[in-house]
Chain length 402, copies 2
């Protein structure tokens, strides 16, 4: 045991562990759908293609305020026609239209059945019950034919569309009161540690505020998940087992923080090892100690308890899969120029907290995994390859937006 | 009247109208703050700078699982020391530490008062109640001093920060259960028109589904507003007055759609003109007819009723101010290369619906303001200057992300 601690097995690579996590979370990618009110659909993701149930426009109507006419009767202008009717927008059967007359019509109003063009009001002059038209229009001008925007059955939106206001607009325009969207992945968060206390209390000696619960819940929500449970356990195995049981009953993914390093009171490691979990060191910093398990068919990922390690673990291993499951666009890495030299631990892929500057990117903290204040100031993670030991100012580096 | 219709006054420019809207909505920019639970704070905007109420770490603790020692006692290695105590993470006063002994300690646990370094467990071998240390460590190594991350009173986050998970993390870490954020601007939406019916019903002749209510509500929410009311009125002035009265009583900004063009049944124009509104044509397409008013001290913007005109009006005139009021980052225009020739109406700034392609950008619809299906397919608005009449494939054009 002591010997094993002095010479732990080779750490696995980030890529290998990410592949394991990806296998484990594969079941999350096939999302059942749920039908929700269109009013609640902003930011949700369509689970099916949507075809139009109606023609749009639904009836032949005027594109302008003006006069519906037979285009032949205004072939020569000026032409003066009697105004025989007025059609506002609103519920109405098409008015009858006689040749050589004009029907006063409003934008969106039903076109009279015999008319084939609309003369905008700007091109007319009205005197008593007559209108003089000053500009000819050909058949079809300023007339919106039924179905000219969308035909019944036409594909409006495709499965996987992340619903923005313009999509809500078209779905409302074709009269859909509800829409089928992908369910959000349900995530449970468990923080562990006898030292954790609630915000708003006064910590005694050796106690700290539990920040990972709030941080992981926010991270999950920000990436399209629904947070089913945020819970906490001390270091007693029975307490953790009880919290874990509730979590797997209500979530599709459980994330724990703490209790997985090399100490003697590692409740997550102890309990989950009994349940067949795999734990190991990943060649990364921060976030080295990682584990994964399946409990009652539900994937469980175990993150180290340091707040920065926890958030980096989420960004590296969970965010890509959660966004894919939720149907959100992937976060792509960018390249940036280092403002200064950086040294790195050999053999470990480092994720340094960085901040974009006018000229490139700078590191905002040392590698210490407790530097949560610096993480808050960061806006990117610098991704330093495992084989790099030093990078110079001016070198290009991969950065992940936070 | 007829004469005036034939020769309407010169249309105002988009820039001039945008400046008027900006003046009108100036009051929205000074936001009162509200205190909310940290759990609800994701995506909200800090209304004040936040300084730390505590030191972080709050007590001197170990950065590793290992053995707390006096560094002098391991100056020569291997060094074998008696293990005199064990300190897990958790509530505890600092243990006493005697020279030339070791205290087994876990990550995050309180450092014994006399110890000045931690030897990671990997560099040790335990036998019974003794530990042999194989690598020297100097004073301070793997010890997190109180306040080394954050000092009490240090600035953590600045006013205006859009709260992301990493900010939630630091606020939770310093024990704040709640946080003061800017209130969201309260917006009311009123759609008008006797022709409008609810989704889920069957429209009769001359009736259409009301899509602007859902679309404007989604647009407001997507840009940081709270939607206080979505209401509708027919074309009777009393009905509109009643809906308007309720809207101004509950919102800081009212947006109407419909009832503002040159027809004879323009309820919004008729009622608001009595109340001192200004209406006019803006040299833009779509979205030409625009009006603004102040009713009971509340700004009212009136958009034309065509769904595309409505959404373009929102994007051009409201989105920038709403985002500023809400504390969200501005949407910046980009430049893209036209995939094909484009013709434009002289004297009007055109906002064409476009879609990014591998090579640049293409127009996805004609200028018709009823083409809501094409708007749904678009992902940018092409901003064609008022003085342009034609642009050629390969020309650069300004695009606004939707």
């Amino acid at each position: 045991m002591a010997h094993q601690q002095r010479h732990p097995g080779t750490a696995r690579s980030v890529e290998d562990h990410a592949a394991d996590v990806s296998d484990l979370l594969g079941s999350l990618l096939t999302r059942p759908s749920e039908t929700i009110r269109l009013d609640d659909a902003l930011g949700r993701v369509l689970s099916d293609d949507i075809s139009s149930p109606i023609d749009l426009p639904l009836f032949r109507n005027s594109q302008m305020d003006g006069f519906a006419v037979d285009s032949a009767s205004i072939a020569t202008v000026p032409a003066t026609l009697p105004i025989v009717a007025t059609v506002p927008a609103g519920p109405a059967e098409p008015a009858a239209h006689l040749a050589a007359t004009a029907v006063r019509i409003m934008t969106g109003a039903v076109m009279p059945s015999g008319a084939d063009a609309v003369v905008p009001v700007e091109d007319t002059e009205v005197s008593d019950d007559k209108v003089t038209v000053y500009r000819s229009r050909s058949a079809g001008e300023f007339v919106r034919e039924r179905g000219s925007d969308v035909r019944t059955g036409a594909l409006l939106l495709t499965s996987g569309t992340l619903l923005a206001p313009r999509h809500i607009s078209v779905l409302a325009a074709v009269g859909l009161p509800s829409v089928a969207v992908r369910t959000r992945p349900k995530v449970a968060i468990i923080t562990t540690g006898a030292e954790l206390v609630d915000a708003g209390t006064t910590p005694g000696p050796g106690q700290i505020f539990d920040s990972n619960g709030a941080a992981l819940a926010a991270s999950a929500r920000a990436n399209g998940a629904e947070v089913a449970i945020v819970d906490r356990s001390g270091d007693e195995p029975d307490a953790f087992r009880s919290v874990l049981r509730r979590a797997v009953a209500h979530a599709e993914l459980v994330i724990t923080s703490g209790g997985v390093s090399m100490g003697d009171y590692e409740v997550v490691k102890d309990v989950l090892t009994e349940l067949g979990a795999r734990f190991g060191r990943i060649a990364m910093q921060p976030g080295g100690p990682q584990g994964l398990a399946v409990v009652d068919g539900v994937p469980v990922l175990t993150f180290p308890g340091n707040p920065v390690s926890t958030l980096v673990s989420f960004e590296v291993f969970v965010r890509p899969l959660l966004r894919r499951a939720a149907g959100l666009p992937p976060i792509s890495p960018a390249e940036a120029t280092l403002d200064h030299d950086v040294t790195s631990v050999p053999g470990k892929r480092q994720f340094l907290r960085g901040r974009r500057t006018a000229s490139g990117v700078e590191v905002v903290s040392g590698p210490g995994s407790h530097l949560v204040a610096a993480l808050a100031w960061a806006d990117v993670l610098l991704d330093i390859p495992a084989d790099a030991t030093s990078l110079a100012a001016g070198d290009r580096v991969k950065v992940w937006p936070l």
